[in-house]
Symmetry: C2
Subunit: 324 residues, 2 copies
């Protein structure tokens, strides 16, 4: 029997055992923590979610999620096809309470700590009612992961005045103000409030959130490239960079796009974390760390408890649909 | 008669002459280039666009736009109420050809130069046909301002596969592919393609574009704050910063959010540039410089010529509406 130090994470690696075995052979230190579950079936990156649901059984992605359902694994992490992962997770794990679809959440480093932004990709079109669900799930997530007792919540819009934006965000704003949720709701916030850390949780639809997240990742890369160019332009700059190299390296790591990698699907009966498809080893490790942190917390119970604070589904739903 | 060096810009300052006169008294160098046009009527920052249109006559904003119509001014610049400025500009200057509403465009510094992003705030809900108009206007703008002969155009989405995103972007993609525009259309791009400079023009709806722009501004401020903190943490860092100070200062200026300030309204019979409400003096100067550059170019003629390349309005419109 292998000894696992307290807090260690063990892995069930789903995929082709020839490939996974060869990788493990190159990293003997990882072997005691890893167990390969062979399958040579995979979900293609361009597979439709509906196809993945019908034909996905036995693929590496399906098997990973299935292990969460059976309790063999505490969480599943995948860098594969987002739509397929969501569809399989919904089918296998089912949604909590009366939620419709899971939300993807991203944790952003900010001037004040971390801000959770959701949805960042799963729900392209969102009505007011769904945005309210995101607010509840985001607050519960932040409470569980950041140990904050009463996270502040803002709704992403293009201005803070009450008449700004489209009908969906205005409808969600009304619901969040009127329906007596146990949330510290702060009203509308704008794009620059994310990095400012104005609120702990920023709620938006999956299209806007995805664009904002990827725009930020692109800008972070741009900034690092600029800094590199600046500090290698001429003798004095190079010397300065050399002298300050330790601090600069630390900052570079903090601003690394991979430091914000890893988005859990919120609202499932089980933990599934989506890693960015283009993540490197460090980025993927960040996603795994997040999954482990969530597995050790009780955020699922938090979400369920908060959803129960909603007014009876009929009332909220009606208001949500009419606003959408 | 005052002598103006070639290329100098002259200003008609619309507003309260007591306030403007006092400001000019403090900056005698600016006086020969400025003429005050008194009015004590203003458009409030929270005024509704409809109200501004009905009651705006004689306000500083209205007068500034009216001077563009009469030809007294070549361009108007305002940091005021965006919705009101757009409504007054549409009413006073009218739209080019069969365009519906103007688009706000932002110029982003990228790894490869500059990328024009539009719409960044004016049109919150956009159907496929409107996104196509943005593509045409953005390409014309880029051609005029950056002297590029054949700008590349991309449509902002949450993936590059043909079935990604909502119906509006998929519909616009079909129109841009099928309708034989004189555009170098490159298909879908994602948020990180903006800073990467993958294409010269990025097309999106006003809600998404506004959030992306403000997210980027917030992140740029965050980076600068991080860099400042890093380079003042400990003796070695401070020394390094001192040695490399000149390069770092130059980079700071380049990454200043105000360097991307100033968004022209595209599609009007005349030039109107909206400055960010929170812009400082440098940011406002950037907006003025952009207005002057546009006034010296022939981008309006470019847009008109390109719009004429569309298939007969009926056909394009039908396809656009059915896709939306």
């Amino acid at each position: 029997m292998t000894f696992f130090p307290p807090g260690a994470v063990r892995f069930l690696l789903h995929g082709d055992e020839a490939v996974l075995g060869a990788a493990l052979a190159r990293t003997p230190a990882a072997r005691p923590f890893c167990e390969v579950r062979h399958t040579d079936l995979v979900i293609a990156m361009d597979a439709k979610p509906a196809h993945a649901m019908r034909r996905g059984k036995g693929t590496s992605m399906w098997n990973a999620v299935e292990c969460v359902r059976t309790g063999e694994a505490m969480a599943a992490v995948s860098a594969g096809n987002t739509g397929a992962l969501m569809a399989i997770s919904r089918l296998v794990l089912r949604m909590v309470a009366d939620l419709d679809r899971p939300a993807l959440v991203a944790s952003w480093p900010t001037l004040r700590g971390h801000t959770a932004v959701l949805d960042v990709g799963a729900n392209v079109v969102c009505d007011a009612e769904r945005l309210v669900e995101f607010a509840i799930m985001g607050a519960a997530f932040h409470r569980a992961v950041r140990k904050s007792t009463r996270p502040t919540v803002g709704l992403l819009n293009i201005g803070t005045e009450i008449d700004k934006g489209h009908e969906e965000v205005r409808g969600a704003d009304r619901l969040l103000r009127d329906n007596g949720f146990d949330l510290d709701y702060r009203g509308f916030v704008e794009g620059d409030d994310i990095a400012r850390g104005t609120v702990d949780v920023v709620v938006t639809d999956g299209f806007t959130g995805n664009v904002a997240l990827k725009t930020a990742e692109g800008l972070a890369r741009f900034f690092r490239a600029e800094l590199r160019t600046t500090l290698s332009s001429g003798m004095l700059s190079k010397l300065g960079a050399l002298v300050a190299s330790r601090s600069l390296k630390k900052m570079g790591e903090r601003l690394d796009p991979s430091s914000i990698n890893g988005g859990p699907f919120l609202g499932l009966n089980g933990i599934v974390v989506k890693s960015h498809g283009g993540a490197d080893a460090r980025g993927f490790a960040t996603a795994i760390r997040l999954a482990a942190d969530l597995a050790r917390s009780d955020f699922a119970a938090e979400i369920e408890r908060n959803l129960k604070l909603r007014t009876p589904a009929g009332g909220a739903d009606e208001a949500g649909r009419s606003a959408a």
